[in-house]
Symmetry: C2
């Protein structure tokens, strides 16, 4: 089974979705490492409760942080990085070390609302639908080739909290499906297009 690392910064709700799917036998990859850039991230406890090795890699010095990620992932023979609410931008060095092998999940229908507070941006713009996107990470912010998207309606009385909750539910399934697509070799990337074979 292919070995994956999950990078988090906080609660790690999407990380937890992956770990639960793994525990249920529904993930076709093995989460072997969870790295947080914050030692206080609550997700580290969750990962340990699932028996997954956890590490902290401070990104106050990004170069040192990324070197630590590289060292740890090599040590653990990790083939895929999953960014699950990881709040730091990666440098080309790390991205090139994992070409089309870093998956990010973003809470909007990209290319709408990249960057921080995507759900708030969507509410402020006044869109009728939003959702989430998984994509391979490239040098831009939330601009990489799209793997999957899921759509949710924006309701008239939505707050940032209610919309975020509705999207998050889709994020969990979308991320699990995307990792499984990758693990089963169903994804091929041509330019900025990701083809998903029936596999």
């Amino acid at each position: 089974m292919k070995r994956i690392a999950i990078l988090i910064s906080g609660r790690g709700s999407n990380m937890e979705a992956l770990l639960k799917a793994h525990a249920a036998g529904e993930l076709q990859a093995e989460p072997v490492l969870v790295i947080s850039n914050r030692a206080a991230a609550p997700g580290l406890d969750t990962a340990r409760a699932h028996g997954v090795r956890t590490e902290v890699a401070s990104f106050k010095d990004r170069e040192a942080g990324e070197q630590r990620v590289l060292d740890l992932t090599r040590e653990c023979a990790v083939e895929l990085l999953v960014l699950a609410g990881f709040m730091r931008v990666l440098s080309p060095t790390l991205i090139e070390a994992f070409p089309n092998r870093i998956i990010n999940i973003h809470p909007s229908l990209l290319p709408s609302f990249p960057g921080l507070h995507a759900q708030r941006q969507a509410l402020e713009y006044g869109v009728r639908f939003s959702g989430c996107t998984t994509h391979f990470v490239n040098a831009g912010v939330d601009t990489g080739p799209i793997i999957r998207q899921s759509v949710v309606p924006v309701e008239p009385d939505d707050t940032e909290e209610t919309l975020s909750a509705r999207i998050l539910e889709q994020e969990h399934a979308t991320l699990v499906h995307s990792v499984n697509d990758w693990a089963a070799d169903r994804l091929s990337v041509e330019g900025r297009h990701v083809r998903v074979s029936a596999g």
Copy 2:
């Protein structure tokens, strides 16, 4: 019944959707005038076939073109302008003459892919869903307050033609619904948010 004018530049397929809905008793507004910026627009014939007055307003000189639109719409006591594939950007003068009374339809899920060739932009980006958006026109290009959106999937083998056809089907219904929302006074605009009451 509220009187509306439709501005076109070409085939006017969305115009035709409005005229057909009107003929079927399904439009709660009366199309009394169709203006094209191009004398050769095939939609002019379609409009005449529906018994609607047609006029040409050249926008080679935008100021003169807009003045002609203003004169004609005054003469016809028009309360709402609908841009149905109208390929010219309006100046603040015309927009301020019809505050929140100009509706545009755009073939993407705005704010993604504004401007020309929205369907091609969507295919080139590699999104999994696209759609259409109706919005009130403001000074920006496809940036005004959103009235309605409809979502369609993007299929792996889509061409610009197949995706455009799938979106266009949604455009027709979305535009008719939006004009009916306006005609029935169901729309209230606060900042960039359009609230649609059950009405």
